[in-house]
């Protein structure tokens, strides 16, 4: 399964990222993500901080299950992508350019809501050494836009 063109477009639109996992003991964990993009092999990579995302990293390593929520502030459009083959690896400086670009787009989105530019800077503090990548094959997608349709399945493209 692969992302639809609209989903790929949304990755770069300035979304907020939330990344969730669950430990083998059943503890749900969550952290903010900084960037996500489609890899050439059709997998999705989401970049998080090892410092703020330590619980998620440990849970994903344990169960390999992951959920990525992306929400666009300008219209509340929101969706989740799920995977069950997630792998965690060091991302480092190779993803700095992507993180910077995604941060700029997200900052622009929040600016319209009256948040000063430095506000999102409080969330994007990870150094290159702290950038971690979670790669997974999206197996299902859910609509999370507020309303009665929240939680319903979104169709993925057959790869």
């Amino acid at each position: 399964m692969a992302l639809t063109p609209d989903m790929v477009k949304m990755l770069a639109a300035g979304v907020a990222h939330q990344v969730a996992g669950c430990t083998s003991g059943g503890r749900p964990v969550v952290c903010r993500g900084m960037a996500a993009q489609l890899e050439p092999d059709g997998r999705l990579v989401v970049v998080i901080s090892s410092e703020s995302g330590f619980e998620v990293i440990a849970a994903v390593r344990e169960t390999r299950n992951v959920a990525l929520n992306m929400t666009l502030p300008e219209n509340y459009q929101s969706m989740s992508l799920l995977g069950s083959d997630a792998e965690v690896s060091f991302a480092g400086s190779a993803f700095r350019e992507l993180v910077t670009a995604r941060h700029a787009a997200f900052r622009e989105q929040l600016n319209a809501y009256g948040f000063p530019p430095e506000y999102t800077g409080a969330w994007y503090t990870a150094t290159d050494d702290q950038l971690m990548a979670i790669r997974f094959t999206p197996t299902s997608a859910r609509n999370q836009t507020p309303g009665p349709g929240a939680g319903s399945a979104l169709a993925l493209k057959t790869s």
Binding site: Q18, V19, A20, G21, C22, T23, S24, G26, R27, P28, V29, V30, C31, R32, S49, E51, S52, F54, E55, A59, T63, N65, V66, A67, L68, N69, T71, Y76, S78, S80, L82, S84, A112, Y113, G114, F115, E118, Y119, T120, G121, A122, W123, T125, A126, Q130, R142, Q144, P146, G147, P148, A150, G151
Partner: protein
């Protein structure tokens, strides 16, 4: 369990993160460990160990929570960028009671902003016990904004000024002026709840281009109408989509049938583009008597501390208002019939519509409800007997006014009537004639017309 969590955190200390400026996110997992994460409309502080989360739709999060009882919640400070992560255990769902009502009122406020008030419906308040709470590490927090005033000290000063007021007009002016002078709140409106009309009537405003006294909205309309209906404060701290809001309000009016004369005739003193609003109910003796609405042109202007301060001041105002029954009138030797000022010009046509006691002077809407009935009685009595002075007490006892009970304060209605007449520079004015007495002053002859409708 202790109410102090890791890093010395307490739920009370992070409650401003639950304002919804930055939406909270909720992570859950199914029994087979498949995670899910989505944004919530609202989180609400319940007590040092519990939070309430809005339950609007039966979705994946709820399915997971009912299966596992576990969830993780993230909250972000809208000012500093700091964040906390909570581990929660689901306990129950409330479908009534104070927590549910607070959450429902806030949801209505939020929903009306995004044009979703017909869709957003609170099914319940999910109550969770907080098992753990910790700071999100690695955040480069911004300095907390300096408070614009010393709220506790200045609220106390304002409270003292209000305590020295001897009558309602003085109390009202002291409150509205004090909000600007001491709390730096430049835009304020004080609304009265008229249970007989199921409406709110604007008693006074400050800071707007139009005064709007006598203007009406329906109970449940906008955040001030919702605050009155639910009896809880509602605060909206981020950019307001006024166009959507106005549309929602219009739909609400349409659903209630034709607009009342007050709605059609008196312009509301709204800000064109408010960025923050806070509506605080006036509560006394277990009832909601009205609400104070304050607004700002700045985002995130009102915080929890403002809400706390205004709740106390409005409580004091409401109690004082309900206690300020008309004083016993001074003894008068004989009912004065003389001292009639010269009346000239064409007759003023005073029309009353019996359905809601709405009063028109010539073709200009003046007021309705109890205040309208009062004016009708006073002028009618004058035309019958020539008497221009009246005691508040005789009005309070007049059966035709049908004052609902002692808490439907006559003094308030008289003040509203007096201000509406003065604002219109009408040929009829109402002035004080000593303690507990008032006097009609008319500069034109009057023709009364009663229309049954």
């Amino acid at each position: 369990m202790s109410a102090v969590f890791e890093d010395g955190l307490s739920l009370f200390a992070v409650r401003r993160m639950m304002e919804g400026v930055v939406p909270p996110s909720l992570a859950t997992a199914s029994a087979d460990r498949v995670p899910n994460v989505s944004y919530l409309s609202l989180a609400e502080y319940v007590d040092p160990l519990h939070v309430a989360l809005s339950y609007q739709f039966f979705n994946r999060s709820r399915e997971n929570v009912l299966a596992t009882k576990r969830a993780s919640l993230t909250l972000d400070d809208p000012y500093t960028g700091a964040g906390v992560v909570l581990q929660l255990e689901y306990e129950r769902t409330d479908t009534e009671g104070p927590v549910f009502e607070r959450l429902r009122a806030k949801l209505m406020g939020v929903a009306s902003h995004v044009g979703m008030d017909k869709v957003f419906h609170l099914r319940g308040a999910d109550i969770y016990r907080v098992l753990e709470m910790r700071r999100v590490p690695g955040r480069k927090e911004l300095p907390a904004t300096q408070p614009r005033v010393d709220l506790p000290t200045n609220s106390r000063l304002l409270s003292e000024r209000m305590a020295n007021c001897g009558d309602l007009a003085d109390l009202l002016d002291t409150l509205l002026c004090g909000l600007g002078e001491l709390l730096r709140i430049d835009f304020a409106m004080l609304w009265l709840f008229d249970a007989s009309q199921a409406a709110l009537t604007l008693l006074a405003s400050r800071g707007y281009e139009v005064d709007g006294a006598g203007a009406e909205i329906s109970v449940g309309e906008g955040i001030v109408g919702t605050a009155v209906r639910e009896g809880v404060p509602i605060r909206v701290g981020h950019m307001m989509n006024m166009a959507t809001y106005a549309r929602a309000a219009l739909e609400s009016v349409d659903a209630l049938g034709p607009a009342s004369p007050a709605k059609a005739a008196i312009a509301l003193p709204w800000l064109k583009e408010p960025r923050s609003q806070l509506a605080v109910p006036l509560r006394a003796r277990g009832r909601v008597l009205g609400a104070l609405l304050v607004e700002s042109k700045h985002d995130q202007f009102f915080g929890y501390d403002d809400e706390d301060a205004l709740m106390m001041l409005c409580g004091q105002f409401a109690v004082a208002m309900s206690l300020m029954q008309p004083a016993e009138p001074e003894a008068v030797a004989a009912p004065p019939k003389s001292a009639q000022p010269a009346q000239s010009g064409s007759a003023l046509r005073l029309r009353r519509f019996t359905r809601d006691n709405s009063i028109f002077l010539d073709d200009q809407y003046l007021i309705r409800g109890v205040a309208g009935a009062i004016l009708w009685k006073l002028v009618g009595e004058f035309l019958r007997s020539g008497r221009r002075e009246f005691s508040n007490r005789e009005l309070r006892l007049a059966p035709e006014l049908r004052l609902p009970d002692v808490q439907d304060n006559l003094e308030v209605r008289l003040l509203l009537l007096q201000r509406r007449l003065a604002e219109q520079n009408a040929a009829i004015q109402l002035e004080k004639a000593g303690r507990g007495r008032m006097r009609l002053v008319m500069s034109r002859p009057i023709d009364l017309h009663c229309e049954n409708s």
